[in-house]
């Protein structure tokens, strides 16, 4: 059924987006850390 396949595809893509966003927050941590180091002092 098309509806089944479309909804499964949709939620699989959403899951993948969450995984990518999660990994992005890890990457962003390092990016922000180097920005903080550059701005100096705490």
């Amino acid at each position: 059924m098309v509806f089944e396949q479309v909804s499964i595809a949709f939620f699989l893509i959403v899951t993948a987006i969450f995984v990518i966003l999660a990994l992005y927050t890890w990457y962003y941590s390092f990016k922000r850390e180097s920005e903080i180091r550059r701005l100096g002092e705490e």
């Binding site: 949709f10 899951t15 999660a22 992005y24 927050t25 922000r32 705490e42």
Partner: protein
């Protein structure tokens, strides 16, 4: 803020990544595995997932930011943070923080037991018990639960937690930096592998196709709401404690967003790892999918690993229980941190604070290890009612007891620029969230009273004593908190 109460022991996160791993280790716990997949499968599949997305946006992110703000701007844990943060009703705010710490403490009293169970199963996964020819999953669980042996393993978990939290934020973030990436990629691996199993499509249909009748059923929305709140870990007081770890340039919106997306990624991957597996391997998938919690994790899944057999069954079981235990343990020691932080703020050394709270938790939690009825009892009284009240407190403090706009401005002026720009939508959503737990609570009562029948749950022998304990305990906390603050100010 000349009247601010200053913590005697100040800890700051060593780096942004260390902070992020510490806080996502908090959010991702045992519930991401054994609760999420069961709820998603039994409350409407795709409809549940849709409701989950809506609640993430309306309530989870918004309240996470508010709770972090209390710790960050208030510069203290559950006792000092709320007191310093609010502009009026300061004594109430300190009480609200301690109420959350109390609920969290009572949850810790059984969480070490649960963490011990998972650890024991992880050891069995490592030693290959599940794939040995004469393995019987019911016999293994039946012979283990409620024994002194299971109590002993639980105590070991609490000792581990005392060691980790004894080192403060350095211990916590070090453990999280090792354990969280491992559990994340292990769960990812399982999710991808389970999609390749023959017959997994039936499971995907069950998990992800929306059912029209479920979309209009309040139960779907309420189950999704309570899963979101419980899973991200809002109103336990942890984000207050973690907010106080933040350095001047750390960003509240980054970690809040990190909590939401990392927690959801792991939960949804765990759903993919579990549900298609059940439909692919089991001869009775529709019965097995109804099993929640211990029945799912300790009876159904080990049986499926056994039926898979060989190297695949061994590796699947190993990765699953390693990820599952890492998730539980990173939540155990962060729960512990919430409960010991008020002691640290008062000046007690981290290791002593950890040992004192740890030992008391072992004493109070021992009945839950020996009799699972007690575990359900603690779970209902503090896990459901206690934490629901905490939600109201967070929204009340950030939405009504301070100038919410000023709080937002304060969070937005951080350099480098924050990850998520907050607008006036945030102020409004925080305030609106005051009513959400109230709706949740009314639904919860209605559910037991009208749908399940008078004697189905709410009126069992233990519910009313539980509510009495909450009221008496609340009054005691209000009194003691007030006295402690008066003494500290002098």
């Amino acid at each position: 803020m000349s009247m601010a109460l200053l913590p005697r022991i100040v800890e700051r996160a060593p780096s942004v990544f260390a902070l992020l791993m510490a806080v996502v280790g908090w959010s991702v716990g045992a519930g991401n595995y054994w609760r999420f997949s069961w709820r998603a499968a039994n409350y409407g599949g795709g409809s549940f997932l849709f409701a989950y997305l809506v609640w993430l946006i309306i309530t989870a992110f918004v309240l996470a930011v508010a709770e972090y703000a209390i710790g960050r701007i208030g510069r203290g844990g559950p006792l000092y943070g709320p007191y310093n943060f609010v502009e009026r009703y300061k004594r109430f705010a300190a009480f609200a923080g301690m109420w959350m710490a109390w609920s969290t403490f009572m949850i810790m009293c059984y969480y070490w037991v649960v963490t011990g169970w998972i650890f024991y199963y992880m050891l069995h996964a490592i030693s290959g018990t599940f794939v040995s020819p004469d393995f019987d999953s019911k016999a293994l669980w039946g012979g283990f639960k409620e024994t002194y042996f299971s109590l002993g393993i639980g105590v070991l978990m609490m000792v581990g937690s005392i060691i980790v939290t004894g080192f403060g934020i350095r211990g916590i973030s070090l453990a999280a930096r090792i354990m969280f990436p491992v559990l994340f990629f292990a769960t990812l691996g399982l999710a991808v592998y389970s999609l390749t199993l023959p017959g997994s499509y039936e499971g995907l249909k069950f998990y992800m196709v929306p059912k029209a009748e479920a979309l209009v059923d309040p139960a779907t929305w309420m189950q999704a709401l309570s899963q979101v709140i419980w899973s991200i870990g809002i109103a336990w007081g942890f984000f207050i404690a973690a907010g106080a770890w933040m350095r001047r340039r750390d960003d509240v919106t980054h970690v809040s967003f990190g909590n939401v997306v990392n927690d959801t990624a792991v939960a949804w991957m765990a759903g993919l790892a579990i549900i298609p597996l059940i439909f692919s391997i089991s001869a009775t998938p529709y019965e097995d999918i109804k099993e929640a919690g211990t029945g799912l994790a300790f009876v159904v899944l080990p049986r499926l690993f056994h039926e898979m057999g060989g190297l695949a069954g061994y590796l699947y079981g190993l990765l699953f229980f390693v990820a599952f235990w890492f998730a539980a343990f990173t939540s155990l020691y962060t729960i512990h941190e919430v409960t010991l932080r008020p002691l640290k703020d008062l000046g007690i050394k981290p290791l002593y604070a950890a040992a004192i709270t740890g030992v008391i938790a072992i004493v109070i939690g021992t009945p839950t290890a020996l009799n699972l009825t007690w575990l359900d009892y603690y779970d209902t009284v503090w896990g459901v009612i206690g934490l629901s009240a905490g939600l109201v407190f967070i929204a009340l403090m950030a939405g009504f007891l301070v100038d919410t706009v000023k709080v937002r401005m304060e969070l937005m002026k951080v350099e480098p620029k924050p990850l998520v720009p907050l607008g006036s939508w945030w102020d409004w959503l925080v305030r609106i969230n005051v009513v959400i737990p109230v709706i949740f609570f009314i639904w919860w009562i209605a559910y037991w009273e009208w749908i399940r029948g008078w004697d189905a749950g709410l009126h069992t022998y233990y519910t009313w004593p539980g509510i009495a304990i909450l009221i008496i305990g609340g009054l005691m906390i209000y009194y003691v908190t007030g006295r402690v603050i008066e003494r500290v100010k002098r």
